[in-house]
Symmetry: C2
Subunit: 154 residues, 2 copies
């Protein structure tokens, strides 16, 4: 007991690394997309290769890819992630730029969130109206063009 598995470097990652299929499973992106991310310069780590040329993913590779997917999930375009990746691989000296990039993205995301929330209110309102009118049984009048300057129908 209390034995240290020397063949593993992390939660189940063997020392020789993971196949692309395993990496895909663990990161939640397809193998196709993993290769694509690498091709377009998103991957800042140097993914290892077997003698035969197959990719071998290690902990840092997976970590970085997860960062990418989170950035993507907040809507950061590939091109911007690449810029960030370029800054990161350029190494020390551009930390302010990285920070600027992240802060500017955060501002955009927050703005988008706010906008979506605002527009969601319309949907909430329409749902309320439909529910109310369905319950009241007079759903017929919904969006049947009304005379003129009157209030818009729902």
């Amino acid at each position: 007991m209390l034995e240290v598995k020397t063949t593993e470097s992390a939660p189940g990652i063997p020392a020789e690394g993971l196949s692309i299929a395993e990496a895909a499973r663990r990161t939640g992106v397809s193998a196709h997309t993993l290769r694509y991310y690498e091709r377009v310069g998103l991957v800042v780590t140097t993914v290892g290769r077997t003698a035969g040329g197959r990719r071998r993913y290690h902990r840092l590779d997976l970590e970085w890819i997860k960062v990418c997917t989170k950035l993507r999930a907040t809507g950061m375009p590939i091109r911007t992630i690449r810029r960030y990746a370029d800054l990161v691989s350029a190494g020390r000296g551009n930390e302010q730029e990285r920070l600027d990039l992240l802060e500017s993205h955060r501002a955009e995301v927050r703005a988008r969130l706010a906008e979506v929330r605002r527009n969601l209110e319309l949907i909430d309102h329409k749902i309320d109206v439909y529910r109310g009118r369905l319950a009241a049984g007079d759903a017929d009048r919904l969006w049947a063009p009304t005379p003129d300057p009157g209030p818009a129908p729902e």
Copy 2:
């Protein structure tokens, strides 16, 4: 005073309707996109035409287009808006379907919002870390691959 402008039907909409350029300005979508929306079946109202074939937008047209832009702004795909538009133009009898569509979309939007918020936390964290390290002057160690099972670098 207190004169009623009989040539206008709403906040500045003349009785003969607005040109596509004006409609574009007021709805915030380009004239190209207005035509596109019409082409793909998003527009439930029948936009009027002049004798010469030019579109004339009236209040309800603009209202509906604004509804479309709000649905788009929450990420509803064109195809779904079209389905909604079809339900609306089909008239009475499908209110439950419209409600279902809206509720299902709302659920998706809420889920997306939650996910974005979650992923935004990573960005917040990275920003904090960069700020802290920049302030501390040891920014050099950011994302320089660390030995091994240790904590991921930022």
